[in-house]
Amino acid sequence: MNRASTSSTTGDAASSTTDSTPNFCGHCGEPDDGGSRPPSDPHLPCRELLVLEPPRYCAACGRRMKVQVTPTGWSAECSRHGVLVR
């Protein structure tokens, strides 16, 4: 997940999507160690793509999120982990 660009979160367990290493890739929804092993990081292309698109999967649980894009920002809502807003 593009954690650095996430400005705020709401929801009961939102902190788990921002304060800890993500468990799932925001782009493809597959398990992710957050890029701690860059040489073999299979999600490097995903992270590059997340520059030009919002995350579609919750970093904490891998659920598909409801994403709303507006001209100046986006929000992504996980049914379990709340809303990310940028």
């Binding site: 409801k66 894009v69 100046t72």
Partner: protein, 341 residues
Amino acid sequence: MTMQEDPATTGYEILETARRQVLEEGRGLTQEQLVEVLRLPDVALPAALQLAHEVRLRHCGEDVEVEGIVSIKTGGCPEDCHFCSQSGLFDSPVRGVWLDIPELVKAAKETAATGATEFCIVAAVRGPDIKLMNQIKFAIDRINEEVEINIACSLGMLTQRQVDQLKEWGVHRYNHNLETARSYFPEVVTTHSYEERLETCNMVKAAGMELCCGALIGMGESIEQRAELAAQLAALEPHEVPLNFLNPRPGTPLENQGIMDGKDALRAIAAFRLAMPRTVLRYAGGRELTLGDLGTREGLMGGINAVIVGNYLTTLGRPADADLNLLVELNMPIKELQKTL
């Protein structure tokens, strides 16, 4: 002289023809001539872009029209447009979501704050039902109360009654893209026909709304089909043509289609301008991937005279400030609201 240095084989001949026919006489290039432009070698590309820019300045003026777009209803579309992540028929990560009216008004305000004169409300539908039409009416009223901006809509295929309603509600412009050439359309969409798209476009024009009818290139169409699309758009005489470049979306049938070559994209920009000297030619989706920052600049100096600022419907664009600062740097004034009425 080698073959490569011969103006006739490097394509300059078609540019000389275009200079007379398009720049001086204001007549767009034909489909056959557009194939020649689209086949220009790289060495001729700067000259093609320069000519397209001159055509834009002479026939459209120096202003650049700025627009923001937002999705009021995302995902769950029953159509199978193979490029679109919002089709409910594909295994796409995009989930269905509706934007509420306060958020829509907020988006319109933010768009107006960029200097934009157009705000387009888009829904991923085959065509609007009564519920959506009622929401659109409510949204238009709320936006008009609070924001000075032209409202455009893109709600799929319309009935005559819906065209008349949108016109009555003050919708300034209606977007309905041809997307690709008639000959390639069945490869891209099977749930509706090219003729159905044309029908809505023609109704919109007949009602007196401005028609915004765009293209999506880089979907595997041939050069000839790209020229065919430009010629078909020119024949339709839309007020605006948004030019999209394929951004292959996960889960769609075109997810493995490669990103279009940047030079081919620039050739297409020049060709579309030379096909439609007086049309608003707008940068739309996919340019960030296909052209990057440098290509964006080259396109603005090569026939483009309008931009979508900020984000798109499901993907993100360059920050609005990046485009607005570029327009300042290029000494291109933003079209004022009064000039659009």
